[in-house]
Symmetry: C2
Subunit: 273 residues, 2 copies
């Protein structure tokens, strides 16, 4: 068996460039893993996505930091450019952290980045992070599974729409929770398409904006109320998720049990359903 | 807005009993979150599941520790007994960590425990953890999503079988990854049932045992090879997951790009597919 090279052991050896592909989790810096913190502490260069909390970057005080994500009104750095930046820095002997919101392997193009680095001969390690697919609903009190209510959950991107409607079942099986990422802009198309296919407009639904951030906002209601739902204008910049399934209605109950002793300030709205 | 009570602030106040429902992640203690470590450090009592790595318990040096999970040949403590233990200790002023493998809200009965604690008036906070639903495949190099290959993933328990076959689609939509938890014992029933329903026996499949532990083992092949697959006898105690979907075949490529610089010793087998 190969000996496991630890980060601390390697730092005493001759310096070799390398890349850590690190999931930063949903926002709160306390939800970083110990390994993510150790990678950041040793980084010479951090290439981060737009949604990363500045306090997370604080764990990499001696690193150059460069945002490669999409910012309001500005295009993101092309994926190929990000690959080239990582490869060039690592081949020059730098320790690079590629810091991604959530988990690198959930709709984050992490697999592509590992393959590009491998192709260039750059050592790379993936450090998984908390995905908002699970921690997002949890922040609003919603368990993606719950005994006698949900035995499975489907995570899907709202875009492209063609893939969404191919992957989401035409009618909702009992016991399935659906978590839609990047779905708020497309919520009218999603809700309209699902009800046209036979999903009841009374199907429980929830929205969580900015999960695990101080500006978190959530709503519980029904699929039929999703399209006309007015989101708070001052939080249009926050990433949002849509949850469809019976567990949505557990949210207010579980959030109330954890209120006064919870990670986040939670502002909650209830629909009329 | 309510002020966010931090763990460190509350420790200087009058002592009030409380419960943290903490996800310990898949195994490796370095994959604990900072918040999980802080909760453990302050715990008077830790009630933990059987799959928890002893090194994780090392973060709670001054706590009483009690295993409430299933152990080989012995039944687990009844769910109601776990509730009663938590409630009694918290009402007596103790800081209790209920430590769960993976994430508390993924097939972990975390929602039930929060509701029971809330009903008893015990303050409770949920600390999410890395779920093996995502970090398990990742440990074997498998991204649950991948551009132009998988735009969504379904996580489902193999038991009860009736729920499994209700939730998993009768034929596999392009672009969907299916991750089956607690599925190894039922792999013949799963594979047989899916192929009987129309899934091709050539559908890519992978198995990961003991993800993110030193004894990790993985296999890549096809659905038709899953039923007769011989698992290593010396690892029958390890939790295992089954992955179905095109991304299974990325596993060896991505694992090879990360080899020599990875978190875990990884032993890999490839099927004939």
């Amino acid at each position: 068996m190969r000996r496991r090279p630890s980060i601390s052991a390697s730092s005493s050896r001759a310096r070799i460039g390398r890349v850590w592909l690190v999931g930063a989790g949903p926002g709160d810096p306390e939800l970083l893993t110990l390994r993510a913190v150790r990678a950041l502490e040793q980084a010479d260069l951090v290439l981060y996505d737009a949604l990363i909390d500045p306090r997370v970057l604080g764990y990499a005080p001696r690193a150059q930091r460069f945002c490669v994500g999409k910012r309001a009104g500005k295009a993101s750095v092309a994926q190929e450019t990000t690959h080239a930046l990582m490869i060039r820095a690592a081949l020059a002997g730098k320790r690079v952290v590629r810091l991604k919101a959530g988990d690198p392997f959930v709709l984050g193009r992490g697999g592509e980045e590992v393959l590009a680095l491998g192709h260039a001969g750059v050592p790379v390690e993936v450090v998984p992070g908390l995905s908002s697919a699970i921690a997002g609903p949890q922040a609003a009190g919603i368990p993606v599974t719950h005994r006698a209510m949900a035995q499975g959950f489907l995570v899907v991107s709202a875009v492209p729409e063609e893939a969404f409607f191919r992957i989401v079942p035409a009618s909702p099986p009992a016991g399935l929770t659906v978590v839609v990422l990047m779905g708020l802009g497309a919520r009218a198309a999603i809700a309209g398409g699902l009800t046209a296919r036979g999903w009841p407009s009374s199907h429980p639904a929830a929205v969580v904006l900015g999960a695990h951030t101080p500006r978190q906002w959530s709503w519980t209601g029904a699929l039929g109320e999703l399209a006309p739902l007015a989101l708070p204008a001052d939080r249009a910049d926050l990433p949002g998720i849509v949850v469809l399934g019976d567990v949505a209605h557990l949210g207010p109950r579980i959030a109330s049990a954890t209120s006064g002793f919870s990670l986040s300030n939670v502002e909650q709205r209830h629909g009329t359903a």
